[in-house]
């Protein structure tokens, strides 16, 4: 029984992404105006996996905080940015 618990705990710790939420840092090309960046803010907020959206025009970044245990893959992110009229420059991920 102890071994089983140990395996479960170890397995859980080895997959922190499943337990903790992620921060996704998206660098966007063409995002120079807040009036136009509304589309990105609106579309990402509508995503079920997204808990919080922060936009920085100075850094040309959108910072997403994902809900615990939820994922938003790169292809989906690129699609949203593309539909809003922009292009993704880079995507970085880290744990919250």
């Amino acid at each position: 029984m102890k071994k089983l618990l140990l395996i479960l705990v170890a397995g859980t710790l080895a997959n922190p992404v499943i337990m903790a939420g992620q921060k996704v840092d998206i660098k966007v090309k063409g995002m120079v105006c807040s009036f136009c960046a509304q589309g990105l803010d609106k579309k990402f907020k509508a995503e079920p996996a997204v808990e919080k959206v922060s936009v920085s025009l100075k850094e040309k970044e959108i910072l997403l905080e994902l809900k615990d245990g939820r994922q938003l893959n790169d292809e989906r992110i690129k699609r949203i940015v593309h539909d809003a009229g922009y292009n993704v420059h880079s995507i970085k991920r880290e744990l919250k």
């Binding site: 063409g30 105006c33 807040s34 009036f35 509304q38 589309g39 920085s56 100075k58």
Partner: protein, 214 residues
Amino acid sequence: MRKLYLLIGLILIALTSATAHPVPFKGAVSVMTWNQPYFNETMAIYSFHRKFAFGGQYMRMDMSDGEMKTIIPQLNFLAKRWNELDSQANVYFVSGFGSYAFDNGITERVKTTAIGGVEADWESRKYYVSAKLTGLWPDIDENTYIQTYRAGVAAYPSEFDEISSWLILDLQHVNRRDREFTATPVIRLFYRNVLTEVGASFNGDWMFNFMVHL
């Protein structure tokens, strides 16, 4: 040769307009109105694709020989967009067909008209230039050509959650009304999805524009 390229570039940029992008983000509804003593335009558009928007516009304009009114369903097309880290540039085409009324003070005639236009803009967080050329080809009367050129500078580089303020010089010419371009300094303020502009031309005519993305 560089100067020639620069000149051609500036002319191309100047060949557009822009208080607003004619094709906002996919799924957006935009409502906008431009107003001067001799000109009113109200438009509502819906972007059903990242490159296309459909909508309708009402326009009223005083000409040298009467008053023109149009109601035109139109299709806007984003032909090309250049997204860079610090800037964005666009070329749009506008087309439509609708009703055209002209009142010369004695009689009012109502017919149809086609509308076509090309717009281009370039903007960064600090600078903005645009140009717009619109043509109206009615069944009656002579053709109308409206040119609008704009250049603007931001008062400060605003962030997403801040009020953004710009000083813009608007140059406008209508072939059936003007002998010279009308120059109007404009103050533009926008916050989130609401944009407003107020200005007064060197002739003393006011300007008020408003736009919202829904």
